[in-house]
């Protein structure tokens, strides 16, 4: 029986999910509708009784909250995707190895480091953790320009307003007005995980879609978009 499936997904997944959903629809006859917004917004809406059947969050915090409140099926929760952080700069920047003692301050040259909100938005939280891990945070924290989402941080670098920025690998890939300076080693920040779970009102169609997202076809698309697959 064809069903209509309502998915709440973090906005950064739009390109990937928009590419994957038609395949699923063709295969199963179900219809997938995705509402893209910030994870915090979506989580609150689920708390308020939104008719979402599948929630894909850009961080674990909000999924944890929903799980604690019993709003998602714990059993269905999976770590769907992973991502990495990169340091970006102007196109054609010299690539560099990012490690402890990296001379970020010099490279900034008095300019600002563009990041998402370091205490609130996942990309910013991970980035801050990484900089702390690298021992660079104290030096640069006065020079961090925080944006409400990671794409805005990318835009700051793309527009030349900020010389450097820390964004997801998946974001950096498609913007040709920026160049990747280096990848931030994953060991310096907590794992970047996009957890997914079914809500209490999930239909079999939603279950099927969640399964489909873990299929090879889907995962190939995620990889093409710059996401990674979580270990294990």
């Amino acid at each position: 029986r064809a069903e209509s499936v309502l998915v709440f997904a973090a906005a950064s997944l739009k390109t990937a999910l928009d590419a994957i959903a038609p395949g699923f629809e063709a295969e199963t006859g179900h219809e997938v509708t995705v509402s893209y917004a910030a994870s915090s917004v979506l989580a609150r809406q689920i708390q308020a009784g939104a008719p979402a059947e599948l929630f894909i969050s850009a961080n674990e915090n909000w999924m944890d909250v929903l799980q604690t409140e019993g709003l998602v099926e714990s059993a269905s929760r999976v770590d769907l995707l992973g991502n990495g952080l990169v340091l970006i700069g102007a196109p054609g920047s010299d690539r560099a190895e990012i490690e402890a003692g990296f001379d970020l301050t010099t490279r900034l040259g008095g300019g600002y480091l563009a990041m998402a909100l370091v205490d609130a938005v996942p990309a910013g939280v991970y980035g801050k953790a990484a900089l702390q891990g690298l021992g660079l945070w104290n030096d640069v924290q006065g020079q961090v320009a925080q944006t409400d989402n990671v794409r805005a941080a990318l835009a700051l670098v793309a527009a030349g307003a900020a010389p450097l920025g820390i964004v997801y690998r998946s974001d950096a890939r498609a913007e040709d007005r920026v160049g990747v300076v280096g990848t931030i080693p994953a060991e310096f920040h907590p794992p970047i995980i996009y957890p997914a779970a079914l809500t209490l009102s999930a239909t079999p169609g939603a279950q099927a879609f969640l399964t489909y997202l873990q299929s090879d076809t889907a995962q190939a698309e995620f990889l093409r978009q710059g996401f990674s697959l979580p270990e294990g």
């Binding site: 309502l6 709440f8 906005a11 950064s12 997944l13 739009k14 390109t15 509708t33 995705v34 509402s35 893209y36 917004a37 917004v41 979506l42 609150r44 809406q45 308020a48 009784g49 939104a50 008719p51 979402a52 989402n149 794409r151 998946s170 974001d171 890939r173 498609a174 913007e175 978009q225």
Partner: protein
């Protein structure tokens, strides 16, 4: 509009519907509140005034969040209303509610200024000729403030077309249900390579809002000219 995908057409249609109804439904209320604020003295007048302005002052996200808490399925207003068959949560009606509330202060301010500019002596003249308060309003005040009402309505419509923060927070971003043009723009801006599509949608917004604006200028001017008699 061959260069708009079906989802985008959908968003455009929805935005127009949402803004249209948001404006239409709030307009009578806006006129009423503006009149009350302009002409009546009653206890709680300042509170009403503050309340009307609240959506302007609050970050839209907060407004949206408050709407979610109040008019959500479990909300203190949302629950009884849904039992009456009036559901806002995650429906286009909710988007219209959010847009209407966000646009309300602009509408009320514009209309109120117009009302304050009407000489009460003309209203008195209407009363001496036998028109009750309500009839005076309908035959004297309202026709005279029409330019202001139109200005207020168009301002509200434009604001509703551009409203995003409260809407997405309240009713999410569900294509075909609650995905308005600005929400679609937002979604495009969140992913690599979405700028082109976003730009397209923004241009459409601009064209529509500007058309509404020019229309309102034209109508407002005709009305004003009639009154001024030049």
């Amino acid at each position: 509009m061959g260069w708009l995908g079906p989802a985008e057409m959908e968003a455009l249609r929805l935005s127009l519907r949402v803004s249209f109804w948001a404006t239409l439904i709030t307009l009578p209320l806006g006129v009423f509140v503006a009149y009350a604020l302009a002409r009546w003295r009653f206890p709680g007048r300042q509170v009403l005034n503050g309340l009307v302005h609240l959506p302007l002052i609050l970050p839209p996200v907060v407004t949206g969040y408050l709407l979610l808490l109040t008019f959500g399925i479990q909300g203190p207003l949302g629950k009884p209303l849904s039992e009456l068959g009036i559901v806002f949560a995650f429906r286009w009606t909710g988007a219209a509610l959010a847009a209407g509330i966000m646009a309300f202060p602009l509408m009320v301010r514009a209309i109120r200024l117009s009302i304050e500019a009407v000489d009460p002596k003309l209203e008195q003249a209407g009363a001496t000729l036998g028109a009750s308060r309500l009839l005076v309003f309908g035959t004297v005040t309202l026709p005279m403030i029409l330019p202001g009402v139109i200005a207020g309505a168009i301002l509200a419509f434009a604001k509703a077309m551009g409203e995003f923060g409260a809407t997405i927070t309240f009713v999410s971003n569900i294509p075909g249900q609650t995905q308005t043009l600005p929400s679609a723009v937002y979604a495009f801006l969140q992913v690599p390579g979405g700028e082109a599509a976003a730009t397209r949608l923004v241009i459409i917004s601009i064209v529509i809002a500007m058309s509404a604006l020019f229309l309102s200028e034209y109508v407002g001017r005709r009305v004003a000219r009639r009154v001024a008699g030049s």
